[in-house]
């Protein structure tokens, strides 16, 4: 039934028993159409119950299964085996995050950052349900729609050189999320978000090489969001250095 056997080289680390991470190789009989996640599930069900990783939706929307696949951050449910013709695939936990166990990384830092940007509507005017919806034209929707598509998979953090150097950097997905609300015609919260977004650890920390946008599986373009935010703040920022500026 199997069409092809691949060698899956998986980084293992169980803090209770392993001094340090090591690679374990599994020879996995695979169907042609499979993704890397299917191969991992095969290992888990048929070969080794001790392997741990996160997944749920298997349709690239829950964001659980971000991992390094042959050195690149990818969703395991979107990494098709047919794109790895050599038959040897190396799987590691996302870079730039502490390993909790095997392919599972510690997400605390990201979750705190996400919370810190006040990712909710801070309304222009409180509106009651009886007043109906805010009108928002398709063009107004388009202004922020792309930045709503983030699934929090953290592939972008795994490649961000600035986050790698200094984890106080708020980072691509959280900044894109702040920008998403700032650009929403229903929102008036930009000032409230600025203490995080426009701080030293915020947008100014990004070197705009755009690695984050290249790996994003959802085409969110966090680098573009940060660039737009910098532009929007640029004037304020530069004038702040002039005599009488707010700095």
């Amino acid at each position: 039934m199997s069409e092809r056997t691949i060698e899956l080289e998986v980084l293992r680390y169980r803090p209770e028993q392993d001094q340090e991470p090591f690679f374990q190789t599994y020879k996995v009989p695979c169907e042609e159409e499979w993704v890397v996640l299917d191969a991992l599930n095969y290992v888990k069900e048929e070969m080794d119950r001790t392997l741990s990783y996160r997944w749920s939706c298997h349709m690239f929307v829950c964001g659980s299964c971000g991992m390094m696949i042959d050195g690149e951050p990818k969703l395991a449910c979107k990494a098709f085996l047919k794109d790895y013709p050599t038959g040897k695939i190396r799987v590691e936990p996302l870079s730039n995050f502490p390993i909790e166990r095997d392919l599972v990384v510690v997400l605390d830092d990201f979750v705190e950052k996400l919370e810190s940007v006040k990712p909710y509507i801070i309304p222009k005017e409180e509106r009651t349900v009886e007043q109906g919806e805010y009108l928002q034209t398709p063009a107004q929707l388009k202004a922020f729609k792309q930045y709503t598509l983030c699934i929090n998979c953290l592939c972008c953090y795994a490649v961000c050189p600035q986050y790698g150097l200094d984890e106080s950097f708020v980072g691509p997905a959280a900044l894109a999320l702040a920008h998403r609300y700032n650009m929403d015609s229903r929102d008036l919260g930009r000032a409230a978000r600025d203490d995080v977004v426009a701080a030293a650890e915020g947008i100014w920390h990004c070197s705009f090489v755009g690695a984050c946008s290249q790996v994003c599986p959802k085409d969110v373009d966090p680098a573009g969001a940060i660039q737009q935010a910098k532009f929007a703040h640029g004037i304020d920022y530069l004038t702040s250095f002039l005599p009488g500026g707010k700095r």
Partner: protein
């Protein structure tokens, strides 16, 4: 064992759990809330919902239409008082979502747009492209951050409910990062743990949907209602089971058999029209569409593939622009997973297990018969879906009844709740011992994955789109055997940190209970209604079975089933009418 206290404990942080948490926080910011989830909230399976959420908002629509569509769609097994308040409250809930920032798709005027959906007479389904559940989940999650009283316990696996003297006071849960069990003690508990599609082998449901909360409530003595009603969605991708939303057909897609023929016209859903008409053809209800596939297969008019027989979904005539604007995820999924770009090619599809109409029995306030215990979302059965849920009603359900559960729980707590007795600690210790036993056992004759395969295969063979006495009995027997064997399984991974062998074993424990409730309820319902079709009892039998099945847990064997009357207010049971006679709106 560490004890963590909160006024309200919520198990599950999907759409329903988050809506509940916000409702409690808004009802009284002084109440402390513990929100537990075995995955980070945004991983919850609400994220997978594509098509939309129905709610009356346009001037050509009215609440009565939504009421009647839902009641007849559910083959009159719906409780009409629940449906009434559901259709009433859902537009307000959807507007609240709009105020919270949900990026609903819009008309050029700036008003929210609606799209056609199966079994609905008028276009009333709000949508955010084809990622509606995803956007709702993230909107709710992000909005919940605004409320300081909501304390999240992400990646905490809930194991058992803790009850004392007829009331529920909390639960045990394992912190997955450390493997430590904690006792959560509260005054009201709300279960929002989602569905149980994973008891079948081929499903649109994600890995998390294993019926844990249903099993917890069931073991605690709360009946599971109408479990035999399992929805097959007519359009899943072969192999992976990934869903292609009903919106594909709402936007005008066709279903064709191996001869390119729109076969639904042969099953009382016609006549065919080039542009969609609501409640007809491809916009008929899901139960009937999935059943039509079964008949086509029997007639040899489906297309065999290595993943089983398929028919084709034809979207080509919609054109690239519309597909990209309205169905971008569908295009991506089809291209990637079955190598078929819907802009230029037919996409293979087959029916796939999708949704549990049944669940934890609740009243219209989302309260279960166990004092202090509430349930909302897919894990619950408040009976708005009856024998067949209409697409786009469950995203609404989790909002309306999540909010009701939250308000109800807050009110219950504020009225003052007696403190639990000593028994709670003992129960928590039992719960821990149950888990420890799996660690201590060394040699097992059966492995969990093999048992799971056996269980899910039995469900597919015995409780599929069409069933009869013999097939269901066979499934029941296998479940009994699996249940017996499961008692002796052992963990192969004995570690504490993020031990997914343990969680999959706990999930299997829940799946066995839920599967048994489904199969035994199915066996005893000797009629055909909605999604429950018996080849040996082909007619609906209102005399004997216009009733909810209530499955009661039995630790020593199969559940006891008894029945509860359906609430009927203004719609007398009648024939379900689809196709030309249904008078649906043109959706061109």
């Amino acid at each position: 064992m560490q004890v963590i206290e909160a006024d309200v404990i919520i198990v599950g942080a999907g759409g329903a759990g988050l809506r509940t948490a916000i409702a409690v926080a808004e009802a009284d910011p002084k109440l402390s809330i513990a929100l537990l989830s075995k995955v980070y909230p945004m991983r919850s399976h609400t994220c997978a919902a594509e098509g939309g959420a129905a709610g009356v908002i346009k001037s050509n629509d009215n609440l009565e239409y939504h009421f009647h569509d839902t009641v007849s769609g559910g083959d009159w097994l719906t409780d009409q008082d629940a449906v009434d308040l559901f259709v009433n409250e859902i537009p307000k809930e959807l507007l609240r979502m709009e105020h919270w920032g949900c990026p609903w798709s819009r008309e050029t005027s700036g008003n929210v747009a609606v799209r056609p959906f199966g079994g609905m007479k008028i276009m009333r389904t709000w949508f955010a492209a084809d990622k509606t559940g995803f956007h709702m989940l993230h909107t709710l999650f992000q909005t919940s951050i605004k409320y300081p009283s909501v304390k999240r316990f992400d990646e905490y696996y809930t194991v058992d409910l803790l009850t004392d003297d007829g009331a529920c006071y909390g639960c045990t849960a394992i912190e997955m990062r450390t493997g430590q069990m904690r006792q959560f003690r509260g005054k009201a508990i709300v279960i929002c743990s989602g569905g149980a599609g994973k008891i079948f082998p081929f499903t649109t449901n994600g890995a998390v949907k294993t019926g844990d909360g249903m099993a917890m409530a069931y073991r605690a003595g709360v009946p599971l209602k109408d479990m035999e009603f399992v929805q097959y969605h007519p359009t899943g991708l072969p192999g992976s089971g990934i869903l292609l939303t009903e919106a594909c057909r709402g936007e005008g897609g066709y279903l064709v058999n191996k001869d390119g023929y729109r076969y639904l016209q042969d099953y009382g859903l016609g006549p065919e029209t080039p542009t969609p008409v609501l409640k007809a053809m491809e916009l008929g209800p899901r139960d009937q569409l999935s059943q039509a596939f079964w008949h086509e297969q029997k007639k040899g008019r489906t297309i065999p593939t290595k993943w089983g027989d398929v028919v084709h979904l034809d979207l080509r005539h919609l054109g690239e622009k519309k597909i990209d604007e309205r169905l971008p995820l569908i295009r991506e999924l089809s291209a990637k997973y079955v190598d078929s770009d819907p802009v230029t090619t037919l996409v293979p599809v087959r029916p796939v297990v999708h949704y549990m109409m049944g669940g934890i029995h609740t009243d219209i306030h989302a309260a279960t018969p166990l004092k202090g215990l509430y349930a909302a979302g897919e894990c619950a059965c408040v009976s708005i879906n009856g024998a067949n849920r209409l697409g786009s009603n469950s995203l609404g359900e989790l909002l309306v009844f999540g909010a009701r559960a939250g308000r109800g729980a807050a009110e219950y707590v504020k009225k003052g709740v007696r403190a639990p007795g000593e028994r709670l600690d003992a129960l928590a210790a039992d719960s821990e011992a149950r888990v420890k036993a799996w660690f201590q056992r060394t040699q097992a004759s059966d492995r969990v994955p093999a048992l799971k395969k056996r269980l899910t295969t039995a469900m597919e063979d015995g409780c599929g789109i069409y069933r009869d006495e013999a097939t269901i009995k066979a499934a029941c027997d296998i479940i009994v055997d699996v249940r017996e064997r499961f008692k002796n399984v052992a963990l192969e991974d004995k570690s504490s940190v993020y031990n997914t062998d343990l969680y999959q074993t706990l999930e299997m424990d829940a799946m066995i209970e839920v599967a048994q409730a489904v199969a035994v309820s199915a066996l005893q319902r000797r009629e055909s209604r909605g999604a429950h079709q018996r080849l040996d009892h082909v007619k609906r039998d209102d005399e004997a079975f216009l009733k909810h099945s209530m499955a009661h847990y039995n630790p020593n064997g199969e559940p006891r089933i008894d029945y509860l009357d359906v609430v009927i207010t203004k719609s007398k049971p009648a024939e379900r009418v689809y196709g030309a006679r249904a008078g649906g709106q043109s959706a061109a």
